[in-house]
Symmetry: C2
Subunit: 155 residues, 2 copies
């Protein structure tokens, strides 16, 4: 069973030029409740379907299943998603031996930038660069599924 | 877009010996509402994930997306399914140039047997063998997702 251990932070004054790469992400939710989500995503020129379980450990870890699928199939499945899509640019930023995924949102979530780091254990050490802001791990309002229901512009 | 055109019938006095093959099917629902379902299934020694959209044409046609995935992954995803599983034996029965899928349910739906035939158009001609009973196409209570919520033994 794939268990995802992640920590999430707000980002201050992010400079995209420090990123190793960037991809546009467009994603929607076939289903989303507090126990699980079924997400379809286009990232760059690739498509994915992802199912996530409930968060454990105060939001630190979560069961995740993911498969790559053709972009055309994601486009079909996006038609089943209610409430529109999340649209963002994801920048991958290497810091020491980790990669931060920095998401700069557009559309109704414009102005919001968050960074996630994936860890192999809950006590793994990692470096916090100076552009990293407040930690928001486990704060459900920053879940992408909830950013679609209650976007940043309404906060 | 894959559109599934199917008709569904009750079955009287089914003789399993007329089947070309049979497989046990165990399946659960990650999500199910009137607009869409997300199903995981083990059929024989294979695993599948299937997403179906809303029925059209009085239940005749429905958008369907399906991918084969490893059985171990289905077993993980079944843990996310609420309300248990559907357990049945599926018999494939050739009749002329079509195949009827005859599902003999067990567990809480024991006693129920239904047959489905997939057509390439809504007006395609097909033969009805004498073991075929009343047509129940579009009757939502025979949807597997609903048979889990309100099983045959409660009818």
């Amino acid at each position: 069973m794939a268990l995802e251990i992640e920590r999430k932070f707000l980002v201050n004054n992010f400079d995209p030029s420090i990123a190793d790469q960037s991809n546009r992400i467009v994603q929607g939710y076939i289903h989303s409740d507090e126990n699980k989500t079924v997400r379809v995503r286009i990232k760059g020129d690739k498509g994915f379907i992802t199912i996530k379980g409930k968060s454990d450990n105060e939001g630190l870890s979560r069961y995740e299943w993911e498969k790559e699928i053709p972009v055309e199939e994601v486009n079909e499945l996006l038609k089943l998603c209610e409430g529109g899509v999340i649209d963002k640019i994801r920048y991958d930023v290497s810091v020491n031996n980790h990669t931060y995924e920095v998401d700069v949102f557009s559309g109704d979530n414009e102005g919001l930038t968050v960074a996630e780091i994936e860890l192999s254990s809950t006590d793994e050490h990692f470096i916090k660069p100076d552009w990293l802001g407040k930690e928001v791990t486990g704060d459900t309002k920053y879940y992408n599924a909830l950013l679609m229901q209650n976007p940043y512009k309404n906060w």
